[in-house]
Each structure stands twice: as structure tokens, then as C-alpha cells.
Symmetry: C2
Subunit: 419 residues, 2 copies
Amino acid sequence: MSHTVEILSVGTELLLGNIANTDAQMLSQGLSELGLNVFWHTVVGDNPQRARDAVALAKKRADIIITTGGLGPTCDDLTKNVLAEAFGKKLVFDEGSAQRIRSYFQRTGRPMTGNNLQQAMLPEGCTILENDWGTAPGCAFEAEGVHVVMLPGPPSECRPMFHYRAKPYLLALSEGVIASHTIKLFGIGESTMEAQLRDQMNAMANPTLAPYAKEGECELRVTAKASAEEEAQALLRPTVEQVKKLFGDKVYGVDVPSLEYVVLEGLKAQGLTLGTAESCTGGLIAKRLTDIPGSSAAFKGGIVSYANEIKEGVLGVPAPVLEQYGAVSGEVAAAMAEGARKVLGCDIALSSTGVAGPDKDDRENQVGTMFVAIATPKGTHVRPLHLGNRPMRERLRTQTASHAFDLARRYLTGLDYGT
Amino acid sequence: MSHTVEILSVGTELLLGNIANTDAQMLSQGLSELGLNVFWHTVVGDNPQRARDAVALAKKRADIIITTGGLGPTCDDLTKNVLAEAFGKKLVFDEGSAQRIRSYFQRTGRPMTGNNLQQAMLPEGCTILENDWGTAPGCAFEAEGVHVVMLPGPPSECRPMFHYRAKPYLLALSEGVIASHTIKLFGIGESTMEAQLRDQMNAMANPTLAPYAKEGECELRVTAKASAEEEAQALLRPTVEQVKKLFGDKVYGVDVPSLEYVVLEGLKAQGLTLGTAESCTGGLIAKRLTDIPGSSAAFKGGIVSYANEIKEGVLGVPAPVLEQYGAVSGEVAAAMAEGARKVLGCDIALSSTGVAGPDKDDRENQVGTMFVAIATPKGTHVRPLHLGNRPMRERLRTQTASHAFDLARRYLTGLDYGT
């Protein structure tokens, strides 16, 4: 396929800055993985003339137009009207969609107004994209050599509508399947990862290899196109193995959602329990674990020991250790983890202490000086971190929590603790 | 002013979906507050021809073009080249900018390459927007009746560059000042708030009143335009007072960053300390408090008692209470808060327990059944919550944490606990 795509978003709330255009991001990522080239994002408000102009332009320069928003009754179904008009199509009433809308309101117990049924008016001859996540159906059609796909605007509807409805439609255009795997890495910088892969990435056509970085972690998405699923998987396998070999124990999983997820799965598989003792991360390690449904199977609880007296009184960190080394020290990190293991009665405990900023601590430790530790039946290990003196409290805390998880996954998989 | 604005973002990373266009959101919000109408967002990649086409179109339909991105050496300063060309301007070397770039690299200790100095090439006769947050200077000029403002792409640079550099430039166009206040509310739904204000909002021209909603909270931004600051403030004052009166104790602050910030300020002002005992929120309450620099002045620490044995063993919730009422109950929420107050040695303790989903608990409590409690020197109060049976774990947890903070700010300001 060598299609060019324009994403056209309709919504005054985007132009007022009430929300960011996360639909366009999600779609861009998904479309790129399908091998489709997104060349333009355009946003217009709920204004018929500007929407018409935008569609006229998109029709000239793209051969796939994907719209988001403007499908509901509050904007008079602006998008459907404008697109249908631009391609000389009538809107016709679709009884199936009407029934789905009626039953949606029945199911949710909300009152239905007359203009909700207007959403059942759809361009003649279109493919209806049923909306199981809201009321407005999407639709797709081909006319004048251009494919048009209309999706609802709310991200909670747009995302599943793209994955479960639009994607199959777009895949059909390509007469093949797309498959991908995501390799997750921790403990390597984005630029280092890219430098090690650049030549290879540029030389690859199928599968392709795309790097992403966020919040101190990296991922590599390997995507292959083939005529059948097994063939695509066969194309993917050697690249996935090659990348895993290249980055060794920096790879913490393939197709897994997060480092903390891997830790929880490891704990559950081995029947072990986890507890936490947090100072600088202030509850973030526990929060990230409990973001995951079912975490209670392995996570017992934690102590946020922000004040030294909690470190001493609740976790049992000896006063002389606090006195001699200061709260931001490897010794205190170790004592916190060991204390948590005892107090919480868990097999493994993780701890954090450090200076998240914006100021140095009273012992002149720089912002970004952090220690994470793990206490296990086999002993305690401390990892000192120097995350750089940048005034980004949130990022420092996130990275520190991730380092704590990295210690746990290394323990659980029998790796050395690395650096 | 009745200007029309187009925001033109240049960056392949946006079209690949690596990042969302949060610059466009931030700018749209800021520009709307200045009374400028943003009619279009356009995104193109690092491609000279498509960038040229986009600029030619923007020049025709907008009289203010704000660009983001494409200023650095990795994209050959695409944006500056294309904009200068479109308006028949040459790029000239600016020694002041060059010096700033050199000293930036000296300061951060990073090596400077020759093409970093290319960033000191700027359109002839432009206003230079000095970049104190990165290397690429921004710039602004007026030509052919169109104002052009170019800003760097990284959000950590774009945001301050807009507020401290572009805004003063744009304000000068309007021969006046814009002032605004943000009124923050908790405990009222967006639709209820809007319904109570709709007629008023529509009837208002100066000041204007704009509602925003996020994560279970609401805010109202009141914005006034006038020839001088005092005059703008005089216009704002009655509306702010009127809104405060209308919504009473649902208003938790004006121009404050968050509910937890208000709680921390209240604690510090009264010399009180806070602790937490969290079950369903799993560390989120502590995390939100410790997100705030300086929180250690009032926040001592917390217990994440995910497992019942931690509720019992660490917090001292009596086994018969857990047995009789179950972990998800007002009785346990109260005992958790009281236990935390004792164990952590703090003046006030907040607690949470509930079913965050996706499944009911073993006593058939529905997802969204939550209890938050506060224990103080004057006694304990429990607030039961029914947050609806929707599978949005993250949102349920955020709202539950906010309700706990609401109890604290009500206690600290002498209000009744409300509902």
C-alpha cells in the first residue's frame, strides 16, 4: 500500500484547547503501523464552511480521509453532512443503526431525544461501523478514488472504533495482514538504543522496526505485512529474537503492558508477596502496582515514610543509621526495605529514598540523587541512582519507581541486579 | 481584536503518533483567553513542500500564524526557512542569539556542533523571542498584514516561550490587557455547573466565563479585557464574587493548582500534620500529596494497607470489625483513619477503602462503592461514595482520592463535611 492519509478532526473544543487531540495521535500511531503514511492533521471547529473547505482540500491531497468528531446531535452531525455533500451522496435512514441507538438508551437508562435518531442517517451505500461504546455509528465509503472513514470524537469511543471497526476496513484495502510485537526495554537510553539500531532500522522494509520512548523506558515495535497471519509471524520471529539478543537483559518483556505488570506476574507465578517502603516516590510505587487490576493477589501493602520518624517508628530504621548516613543513603534504603519486609510480612520489599527536588536536601545531596533497594529471602541489594539535576520532579519520581521495579524483575528472573 | 489564528505544527513525530499535539492545546487555550479566535490547527511533517503548501494556505486564511517545531538543527530549521521564503524575507545571522546558544552549551556542559549556530539565523527585521529554556530562539514578524510567531516544539520550551515571549508580543497587538482568574470547584458535576450558568455565560461579553472539567473536578475561568490591569481586575471582581456565592462551599479556591495543594497550604498555615491509610487508592493519595514540592512540611507519611492483614497488623483495625462489616465499609474506613493517626503520629489522617474494579468484591459490593474517612482531634467522619459501576479503575481511584482531600479541606476551613 502506498496510501496518503489526512486526519481531519472536527470540534470547537480542540480549538479552544479544552482537550488535546489525542485521537489524532492514537490514529497516527495505528495507521503508521498499518504502513499508511499520515501526511496531515487538520482541526476545524463546528463550522460548516470551514469544515467544507477542509474536506475539499483533503480530497485533493489525500486518498484516505479519516475524520474524528462532529457526529453527535450537539453539532448537527456536521461531519456526516459535509462529507456526504463533498462526495455527492445522500444521507439515508438506517433502521439497524436506529435500533442500536434505541437499545443503547434503554440499556443505560438515559432519556432519548428525537435528534439522537438523526445519528441513524448515514451516507448511502456506506459501510456502517457499529459503535458498541457510544451512540453515534461511524461509517466508511469509497468515492472518487478516495476512502473516507468517519469515527466518533470521544477518545473512549474513537480508540475501540478504530481498532475493531476501522482497522479491519483499512486492512481489507491492503489484501494482507499486519502483525506486530512490542519489545520493552528498561535501563537503556533512547539515543543509545537508536544508535545501536539505526543502520538496521533504515535497511529494513518488512518487518519494520520503530522505536518509542516514554518516561525513562523504551520500546521497539516490530511490524510485518504478509498475506497470512502465520507468514507475518514468521517474518517477525527472527527480528524479535535478534533484538532480544542485542539488548540482553535490558529487555523485560515482549507484548507486556509495563514493568510493574511483569513484576506482578512474576510474583504470582512464584507465589510470592511484595511490599513497599517509599520516601522520595511518596506512594508512586504502590500506586503503579495497584493501578493493575488483581494486584492484590501479590501486593500486600506499603509504608510511605516521608518523615524520618516514620522511617524509624514504623519501618524500624535504626536512629543511628539515619543519623550517620542521612535519610538519602544506601544504608537507609536497605534498612527501609528490610523493615518493610518484616512489618508487612511479605517475601520481597522494595524501597526508595532520594531528593526529588526542587531543592537539595539538608545534607547537600543534589536533586536526582536516589537510592532504591530490594530485600529478599536471599539478602538485600541497593542501587544508587544519579538521575541528573533537572527540575523535573515527576520524571525523577517515575524513573526511580521504575528502577525499583527493575530490581524486582531481575530478582524474580534470576538475573544479576545490573547497574 | 478580531484576529483569526492558525496554529501550524511542524514535526514528523506528530504524524507518526509518537506524541500528542499538546502544544496546540496549550496555545489554543492561551490564545482563546487573549480573545483571539483559533480557527485551524494544521500538522505537517518535516517535509519542505508540504510545509510550504501549509504556509501558503495559512497566509490566505489567517492573520496570525503561530508555528511550533521545526526550529532545530535536526530538521534543517525547516520552519524558519519556509516562513521567511513565504514572506520574501532573508535569514540573517544574529550575534546576540549566537552568544546565547554558545553560553547555553557551556552551561549545560554539552558539546556544541556547528549546525547549532544555524539557529542564530533569523528572518531579517524580526522580533527575537529569546529562549531561556532551550537553544532555538523563537521569532515574530509582521508582513503582508499577517503576524507570524515561531515557537520551538518541545512542550517544556513551547509553554514558557508562549507565556513569557509570545503573549507580550500578541498583547501589544491588542492595545490592552487581558486578566483572568480560575475558580476551582469540587463536588459538582460539569453538566450541573453549566446548567446553572448557561444563560449567564451566553449573555456575558467582558468578562467571559469558560467552564472546564477534568477528572471529577470543574473549573471556571473568568477573563476580562481592558486598557489597564486595574480596570481588568475591576471587571473580574464582581463575577468572581458572584460565582463564589452561587456555588458556595463547592468552591475550594481561586487561582490554586489543586485540591491537594489547598489541603497542604491549610495544614501548613495551621501547623498541622497529615497521614494517610489507603486501601482502594493504593498510594494515590500519598502520591498526589508528594507530587507537590515542599509537601514534607505537613505530610508525614502513609500506610497502603492493601491486604487485610496490614489493616489489622499495621493500622490496628480490629479483626471483629473487619469480620463483621468487611473491608469495604464505613466502619473499616473510620478505623483505618484512626489507626493511621495513631501509628503515624499525625494530627489528621485520611483513609480510603472500596471496590475499584473491574470485579465486585467477595461481599458483593459493586464496583464504585467507596468510603473515605477523616480522623481529627475533634472526631472521625466517614463519607460513603457511589461512583457508578463503570469499568474505569483509574477514574474511580482519582475521584476517591479527591473526595478524601475534600474532607480535609472542609475540616481545615471549618465547613461541614457536606455530602
